[in-house]
Amino acid sequence: MRSAAIIAVILTAAALRAQVDVPGEGVLPGAHMPKPVPIQSKNPFKPFDPAKYAQAVRALGGTELQVKRFVDDVEELGAARAGDDLIRKVWAKLDKAVLAAAEADPEAALLLTQALVEAKSPLLQAHARYHLSRLFLDSDDPERALAVLNDYLTHNLNVSPLDSEVAYFYAHSLAEIPMLDAAIPRLRAFLAWFPGASERLRAAAHQRLLELERQRESRLHMLADGMKKTWRDLRKRKTDRPVQLDQETYVEELSELIEMFEEMESQSSSAPSGNGPSSNPAANSALPDGEGSVGELKKRPSLADRWGDMRDSERKKIMADVQNTMPPQYQKMLEDYYKKLGKANRK
């Protein structure tokens, strides 16, 4: 398992070295960017203490048998997974919500938020926030995922074994937005601060780092990343001046790139060596599958499809619950989320 992960990283590194190198800074979008929690120079995460965690779970009603199972599972599954399994056994509401998310049930966002609203202890909030952020990430909404993870880092740090997962997915969300300059140091910090995190997560972090460094060096990939962010802004019906400014920046960047490539093409009738257009262009017009799928550890079925398949009465019930049972800050978050699901389904 370890060797497979290492080989994957080496192969990715070899592929990245082979990227076309177009000199220049490149552009990144600036509209409606979230504010990440500042990165600490000193590790803010304390080592996970299973005994303390077990005690906290007992206080929440966990049985001795459940706690014993957790202790056994830590060795086999890792602390994050074992801890989350334990909380889900103790807290049926969260378990139901997480199962709904796994089955791509559109009600999952409402159920997870209801669980979060009801959770009084920071430990329960931590698990609810973690799953809600993962749901938003799976719904291609890294900005909303980041907002939830910001709350986790502010209110729920060092109470659950999910800290390592949160640190990874925080950086992953930033990378997806894309906020590369914020994502890269946080991925490095994750690797430095969590040497005992799951091998799967650490391999994903290594691979994501290499990808981001490549993106940082590739003006064309950066441009595509920026356009992706603007595409998400437009899907959220943001057409204001900051979004328009980003779009104007893309046109300016394209003008610069055109000039550079025209110069390279005029200097040689054949492709310039190592610094120019492809001598081996794609044979067809097929688009590559997906967008930046590295780090997406589990691909779930489409929530938007399931939302579209629901009866009108079921959708109306969910929206009524959102409007009638949620505090204002979560009401807005969920209304926007379901609006976006509806739009995605129409495509």
């Binding site: 076309v20 441009l223 595409w231 899907r235 046109v251 120019g276 492809s278 001598s279 081996n280 262009p281």
Partner: protein, 69 residues
């Protein structure tokens, strides 16, 4: 097709999306914008983004091929 020509096409498409974004914003300011207007402009931005990504990937792959020679 030379890369510069592909980039020119992308620039043309992006300029068109920019113009439509401004139009939708203006309609929105007068409460005249329909959900379909936003969807259309988002879809077009998504298409430009996909073409841009494809070109970036293609250049990467072409260079990788030369590196192996």
């Amino acid at each position: 097709m030379p890369v510069s020509a592909e980039l020119k096409m992308l620039k043309f498409l992006q300029e068109r999306v920019n113009k439509q974004t401004k139009q939708v914003e203006a309609l929105g300011a007068e409460d005249q914008a329909q959900p379909a207007d936003y969807d259309r402009v988002a879809e077009k931005q998504g298409r430009v983004k996909e073409l841009m990504r494809r070109l970036a990937e293609k250049l990467g792959k072409g260079d990788e091929g030369r590196g192996g020679e």
